[in-house]
Amino acid sequence: MNDPTSTPTSQTPLLEASAISKRFAGLRAVGGEDGLSFVVNRGSFVGLIGPNGAGKSTTFNLISGVLASDSGAVRFDGHDITTATSDVIAEHGIGRTFQTPRAFESLSVLDNVVAGATSPGESLRAAFGRAWREHESATVDAATETLERVGLAGRADDLVTDLSGGELRMLEVARQLVRNPVMLLLDEPTAGVNPVLQQRLATLLEELHSEGMTLVVVEHNLHFLLALAEQVLVLTHGELLTEGPPADIRTDAAVISAYLGDDHAA
């Protein structure tokens, strides 16, 4: 609910997670004794790293409404989104891609992106009217532009099943971008993506960042992430181990030992 006493200014964080936690079958996935707490400032580029099983994707799930937090609160842009469902959160302006890319398989590549946007004709009442037709071409144009931006323009009419893994990820990004999100959560966007595409993604993220979008990226590919992020949060066993700028994190002994036995491509 909108709290009138805390008008969002550039000082207040865009995203604020306070003491959130999640248990699965008795095992704690996220949140230590005091739960997990962190903030993301407006316009920042934040990296979220940690070894496998640290709870990064679960944290994303808690923020984006896929899972409900067992405790604490999540505030975004002045709204309490702790118990909100994913669709409501998406409408608030949080975009999110998934660890395993998801797509609408019966729709073409272009239609996937069109479907990503919230068109006027999607409500029951509007569907029976005529107004949505005018908006439709504008939506298609926006979708085409977004496809160009992620480099999939030539694949607009293809089936989703024809895309490679990396292209599917770009499609997912496009599907979120067309919504003009305030904050974009990306879950391992470079996993299984070839270096050329990775470079394109890096450039795209830099552009988005310079345009003012807030980005939170989970990555195992530290080489990719530490070059882009301004701030890095390190998660282990569902708790915040440390946070700081990439340069500090790169040399932090605790972080390195947390990664030992795990892949730490640097």
Partner: protein, 309 residues
Amino acid sequence: MNWPQIIVTVVTLGSIFGVVTLSLNLQHARGGMINFGIVAYFAVGAYAYAIFTQPAPQGLDQYKFGFGWPWPVALVAAAAAALLFAAITGWPTLRLRGEYLALTTFAFAEVFHSFLLNERRIGNGTVGLANVKRPISDWGPIEEKYVFAGAAALLMIATLLVFRRLLRAPYGRALDAIRDDEVAALAAGKPVQRMRRQVFLISAIPVGIAGGLYAMFTTLAQPSLFTAEVTFIVWIALVLGGERSVYGAVAGTLGLIFFEEVVRAWPFETVRSAQIAASAEHIVTGLLFIAVLRFQPFDRIAERVKATR
């Protein structure tokens, strides 16, 4: 073989059941919901119509309710009753997915069927309600049965147009997205819960009206008319028609009903051979159903059409 009569019956029954298949098309092919209990909404409409039009109980009648109202009111009541039933059964079941949704809808329909069989006060038990009003009206030179077939066809066409309009709008695309990947659809801002409920409720309305028409046509509302077999017949019609398109739903239903009526009307020499033919019809239909599910000829054709464009 009285072909004109067969055609009229096929148009009438095919249209009535075609409405039910259209609802399944909306719910399943586009909405991704497997409803194995759709006969219950059909039955609710039929019984509501019967109860609203029949005279008040007298003498040996065991049923308690009869309002004796005119048939247009009763048809509205049929629609409303189906809507209400969908709202009640939808509330708990729409949280479920896949096979669990299929089972729950199936169970609800069987509970309702069992209820109809046993509760004599509402539905007069196994005997059913027999005084269903059928508005007799030869429209000028057109015989009553043609008027009836026309009315049924009108309902089906109206349902088809309404559903098609809905599905052509971005609403249909959003439904497809939800059906394909619910989590991704939520991440794209689609109100999944709300849309599924809307689809469930909207598709119940024409099914209720169709039920009312069916009661009108048969002048009966009897539990034996509303068994799980009806659900399976429309499912088979849906699959045979290619599942995805509204036109396929209609075509599949008409084809199936045509097949059934031809077999039924065929002049067999013995009762036994007629029974065997009826069973054979079942078997062939079931085999076609299994084959279409496996080989998905319609999807192949659609893909080939798309590829050559």
